[in-house]
Amino acid sequence: MSLIHKTAAELGALVAAGEVSAEEIAAAHLDRIEATEPKVNAFLHVDREVTLEQARQVDARIRAGEKLGPLAGVPIAHKDIFATRDMPTTAASKILEGWRPPYDATVTARLRAAGLVILGKTNLDEFAMGSSTENSAYGVTRNPWDLSRIPGGSSGGSSAAVAAYQAPLSTGTDTGGSIRQPAAVTGIVGMKPTYGGSSRYGLIAFASSLDTPGPFARNVHDAALLHEAFSGYDPMDSTSIDAPVPSVVAATQQADVSGMRIGVVKEFGGEGYQPGVLARFNEAVKLLESLGAEIVEVSCPTFGTALPAYYLIAPSECSSNLARFDAMRYGLRVGDDGTRSAEEVMALTRAAGFGPEVKRRIMLGTYALSSGYYDAYYGQAQKVRTLIARDFENAYQRVDVLISPTTPTTAFAIGERADDPMAMYLADLCTIPSNLAGNAAISVPCGLADEDNLPVGLQIMAPVLGDDRCYRVGAALEKAFEARWGGPLLKEAPAL
């Protein structure tokens, strides 16, 4: 089997055994990127020499006897929202075109420390605002399953890169579903860790009370390896949890749901859900039952208002966070001809540098926070947030995990929802509650929808710091599905 089709765990083992060098593995993936990028367009930045030099350094560290962990020498695609010292960081925005951060994000630094080799920076919806990667200022990324469809978003470059075998692993960030939804629509695994379980330091902020870095991989075990490699307490992030990382790798080895109580969220299904998505989901529920889990229907009545609450809270935080792009200290500056004031230059720069979705959200957030509307919108949304957390708490008294479809539909066509923000927002209907409550949640493949032969994702949600439960159930499902399918779902994807 060629190097690009191997799992991250296999590649790490080959490097550790001295059978293949990190440089050879990086070169094979760079070749794959070069061959498939004209079709997929997953990356905003690739620099072959920078990547190969990183790989040679990892090889040297291994030769010197340094203990690097199971992913040393494994390549990774890195979402272009994490600061990287040696590569541009743009958040897919014109306002940050060519920006070279003077420091590494904590996630970036931990990838390097663990000996992972960064292949490049992946495309995203501008500032991670979107569900299709169409909001990038640098062009759309295409879904490897069907190049006329979206790869999900905002981490769509990262999901497409892994599904297209350009990288065995990638990073993402999940504010309302931006890891789980892209994973679902590209047939791979994507995990949103517990909020505060992975560091936001050096992650360009969108909505600070929700943003959570997490892993993408082609299987549950690889995702867990990456999760452990970059998660854990970071004193540079004031909302980082000072507690041990849940044992997610061990949980994938357990892969057993017998005796577990699994709740099916009653509110997620029915109208607005694609029949093929519900069919695959219902099969997965039966499969879990056959594996010895107890299935319980659970009602979470306020989940129906999670979407409107989110579209008040996230834009409010965004309008505040993005005020830093003021054309003064870094980034784009437009119209500074010596006659205009700083305020005029700011307004011209922000109008030229931000795309339409970012402008919409900044104005929506400014509205929700403005005097006279604050209590009715932002304040009320925060109360709904409390009620959603209570719904979860009540549910977790009865069950160990909750499950639902990850998304109401499979990947939609590029352009289909581009002019209809509310239709676009519906893609995150099932993923948003976990962000509002700070809970852990994973998406794993559960088959192809009959209507369009496109991947369907199943979401497993667990309480704060219950990340290991997501991996345990995900690994059990994956094992059972792969036995049924005769291998991973991704083998059904067309060759590129």
């Binding site: 010596g338 305020e343 700011m346 307004a347 922000r350 949304a381 509310m422």
Partner: protein, 99 residues
Amino acid sequence: MSAITRDEVAHLAKLSRLALTDDELDHYATQLDVIIGSVAKVAEVAAEDVPPSSHALPLTNVFRADEVRQSLTPQQALANAPAVEDDRFKVPRILGEEE
């Protein structure tokens, strides 16, 4: 009745420091009206006695030790600046003519 008028959108754009064209204002007024009409559903939830959550974790007042640490050099801090003069950020005038 519309949830938001074009004039209100123009005011929001000013507060947001976004120099929008007339066409953009028309476009966003229509879209924001739909979005605000939809998110206003949060008002239907009975929540008078519910405390608001600004955050998912019960963390307050996280401090670090007050110690001098290595920070950026002036060259590093200025490396991405749009304009620099004498080791400082050079910015457009911030006061009006008469101030």
